[in-house]
């Protein structure tokens, strides 16, 4: 598929990324996801994996490739019935399984909002804490190649509004594995948002299983002038921006919260205490989006330290267009972060 190619071009640039402790064993983000699921399936009989196309020859861009051969009956294709499928993982999770459901595109999750928001998010609460719903919905977001408005959306912000749902957005291969294993081990429903353009990114990935706690952010690059909180692919764009700003003597700090719920407020507050400036870079829309929600929850706490307005690098409020010329005006990248940083410093 053409956008596979696009992704390769974008995600394998020279990047100095503080990805976490490793041992020199490089793995792609996609392979790290596969390894996490392989290990979880192997260790724990309660885990199963399903989704449209998980057993085809593409294997969800390699992230589920051939797992159905190793785990017969526990990794399987499904009908195209997103809401019911989500109901199935709810029911299975309630009765002692630990299911993983994969959506090739996050757009399709809109059909399963009833089972996520009316059910998964509150089944534990409504029971007075007597039952748990330990599932993971893996969902991919992508962009470019004219995918247009129904095959590109990054809808993570919707879930931030709803108590009872955890949201994870890994930006490195190391995180992809450690966060996915932690999500599978978690006793609550976790929406796990993967960016297609990160799939071929390689970072150090330990061979053994390891868990990255949900709710712990990570400083990808430390700096003293501006704090940039970046989500998912925007972490990479921020690191590119950091490289180019360095040449102009501007030193930004890039923080990857890694999870939106729970959210590591402390790591951001500490950073802003130092820099006095905050930018939030997200691949979603601004209005009611993740960036505004993060700004809203932090503003009272960081106000004493702020030397300028909070900057936003977010999508313009329009559906995703198709034409490359329009996409150019729609998506945000390192250049936009650079200009936002300069604006903030003015």
């Amino acid at each position: 598929m053409p956008w596979t190619k696009v992704a390769v071009d974008h995600a394998t640039g020279e990047l100095s990324m503080n990805a976490g402790p490793g041992n020199g064993r490089l793995l792609t983000y996609g392979a790290a996801l596969r390894e996490a699921q392989y290990q979880a399936l192997k260790r724990d009989d309660r885990v199963f994996l399903m989704g449209e196309g998980v057993d085809d020859s593409g294997g969800i861009f390699g992230s589920t490739l051939n797992l159905h051969k190793d785990f017969k009956g526990r990794v399987f294709d499904t009908p195209i019935a997103e809401n019911a499928l989500t109901g199935f993982i709810n029911g299975a999770a309630l009765t002692g399984s630990r299911p993983i459901l994969v959506h090739m595109r996050m757009d399709f999750m809109l059909l399963s909002f009833d089972q996520i928001l009316n059910h998964a998010a509150k089944l534990c609460y409504m029971s007075g804490g007597r039952v748990r719903v330990p599932w993971v919905v893996r969902t991919l977001v992508g962009r470019g190649w004219g995918s247009a408005a129904q095959h590109s959306q990054s809808l993570h912000a919707f879930f931030m509004h709803m108590p009872g749902i955890k949201i994870v957005m890994p930006s490195s291969a190391y995180d992809a594995k450690g966060l996915l294993l932690a999500s599978i081990a978690d006793d609550n429903p976790v929406v796990f948002v993967e960016h297609r353009w990160l799939y071929d990114l390689k970072t150090d990935v330990p061979k053994d299983e390891y868990l990255i706690p949900l709710g712990k952010g990570f400083v990808r690059k430390s700096g003293k002038d501006v704090t940039v909180v970046a989500l998912s692919l925007m972490v990479l764009e921020s690191l590119k921006a950091a490289d180019s700003l360095k040449k102009e003597g501007i030193d930004i700090e890039v923080i990857d919260p890694r999870t939106l719920h729970p959210f590591d407020e402390e790591i951001v507050i500490e950073s802003v205490k130092k820099t006095g400036r905050l930018i939030i870079a997200d691949q979603g829309w601004k209005s009611g989006g993740a960036a505004e929600i993060i700004a809203g929850r932090l503003c009272n706490k960081i106000r004493p330290y702020l030397k300028s307005d909070i900057g936003f690098v977010t999508l313009p409020d329009a559906p995703t267009p198709s034409s490359p010329a329009l996409e150019e005006g729609f998506y945000r990248n390192a250049r936009d972060i650079v200009s936002c940083v300069k604006e903030t410093l003015r």
């Binding site: 009989d45 309660r46 199963f48 009956g73 526990r74 499904t78 009908p79 019935a81 809401n83 019911a84 499928l85 989500t86 109901g87 199935f88 993982i89 709810n90 029911g91 299975a92 999770a93 309630l94 009765t95 002692g96 399984s97 299911p99 009833d114 089972q115 009316n118 059910h119 089944l123 534990c124 609460y125 409504m126 029971s127 007075g128 804490g129 007597r130 039952v131 748990r132 719903v133 330990p134 108590p163 009872g164 955890k166 006793d187 609550n188």
Partner: protein, 322 residues
């Protein structure tokens, strides 16, 4: 069916009837501040189907869940306490009457979203099958749920994976105030299962023994891994969609229609049969009635005396383990 079983089914119908009547009596006090969807008139289905279930079998139900829970053995006092919003309630006051949950008795969630419980039940059946457990799943839903897409998505998958589940549709011919006629082109709910290769059956839901017999055959088949089955039981609710009142006064349903169905009372029918066949005597029935009423008295008293939850508990249990 032996006499002991018939007596047991009678007793289940009766306890549901008395429980719901007690809710009707107490509701105007406005101390049960939770919407109640009563199943008066529909008791035979819960009693007949649940008669075949074991403690560890899973049961999923709907907003109209009281009868199913009672038939599955849920504690009356914990249910009552939940209706009174008490800490001692089944769900510590977090669920109310529409979301009764009792994991020890196989009720792991109750959804009041129409159709919402159906995929939950199918997922539980998938879990059972993957773990090679010896359990069956029964899911109750109304004729309204058959309007929802998720019903068909769920049947499709249950058939595809040959899951151990019995779908039980309680067709009371109404979804709130809409008649089945105004929503569905054909009165053929049981036949709709067949397009997925699921055997579909229909029976008189006000005839407890017919329900028990047919459900018994179907549950047995499901237990023998024969795949999903569907049973449509035709019945009628006596009260309004929600609350203790009769809705003919509001003009939602014709009075003579309600009266005609009340004449087909499932409890009376069974009682008549039991007396005729000398399975029970009038004195025996009176004795059972007294005993069950006492149980309900005790449950109500216990519920009313229990403590309320603390305001501060409102954010507890949002995530599991907190």
């Amino acid at each position: 069916m032996d006499n002991i079983s018939i007596r047991q089914i009678y007793q289940t119908c009766l306890i549901i009837r008395l429980f719901e009547e007690r809710v009707v009596a107490l509701y105007p006090e406005q101390k049960m501040r939770t919407p109640v969807h009563l199943c008066l008139g529909q008791e035979a289905i819960a009693a007949g189907v649940c008669f075949h279930l074991k403690l560890k079998d899973y049961l999923f139900t709907t907003h109209r869940c009281h009868g199913h829970c009672i038939a599955k053995g849920v504690s009356l006092r914990a249910m009552m306490a939940e209706f009174y919003g008490k800490q001692t309630g089944l769900c510590s006051g977090k669920g109310g009457s529409m979301h009764l949950v009792d994991p020890e008795r196989g009720i792991v969630a109750t959804s009041a979203i129409v159709g919402g419980g159906i995929p939950l039940a199918v997922g539980a059946a998938l879990s059972v099958k993957l773990k090679k457990e010896k359990r069956v799943v029964v899911v109750f839903f109304g004729d309204g749920a058959v309007d929802e897409g998720v019903f068909y998505e769920s049947l499709n998958f249950a058939a595809l994976k040959k899951l151990p589940i019995l779908f039980v549709c309680e067709n009371n011919f109404y979804a709130t105030n809409s008649t089945q006629e105004s929503r569905q082109p054909l009165d053929n709910i049981f036949e709709r299962a067949r397009i997925f290769g699921i055997p579909g059956f229909r029976c008189d839901g006000n005839d407890a023994l017919k329900v028990t017999n047919l459900a018994g055959r179907l549950v047995a088949k499901v237990r023998q891994q024969k795949g999903p089955m569907l049973l449509e039981c035709r019945t009628y609710r006596w009260k309004g969609h929600v609350g203790p009142d009769c809705d003919s006064e509001k003009g939602y349903r014709p009075k003579d229609e309600i009266d005609a169905w009340i004449r087909k009372c499932p409890l009376k029918k069974l009682e008549k049969y039991c007396l005729k066949k000398r399975i029970l005597t009038i004195e025996g029935i009176e004795e059972i009635r007294l005993k069950l009423s006492k149980e309900i008295d005790e449950a109500v008293e216990w519920a009313q005396e229990g403590p309320l939850p603390l305001k501060a508990d409102v954010t507890q249990n949002v995530t599991y383990g907190d």
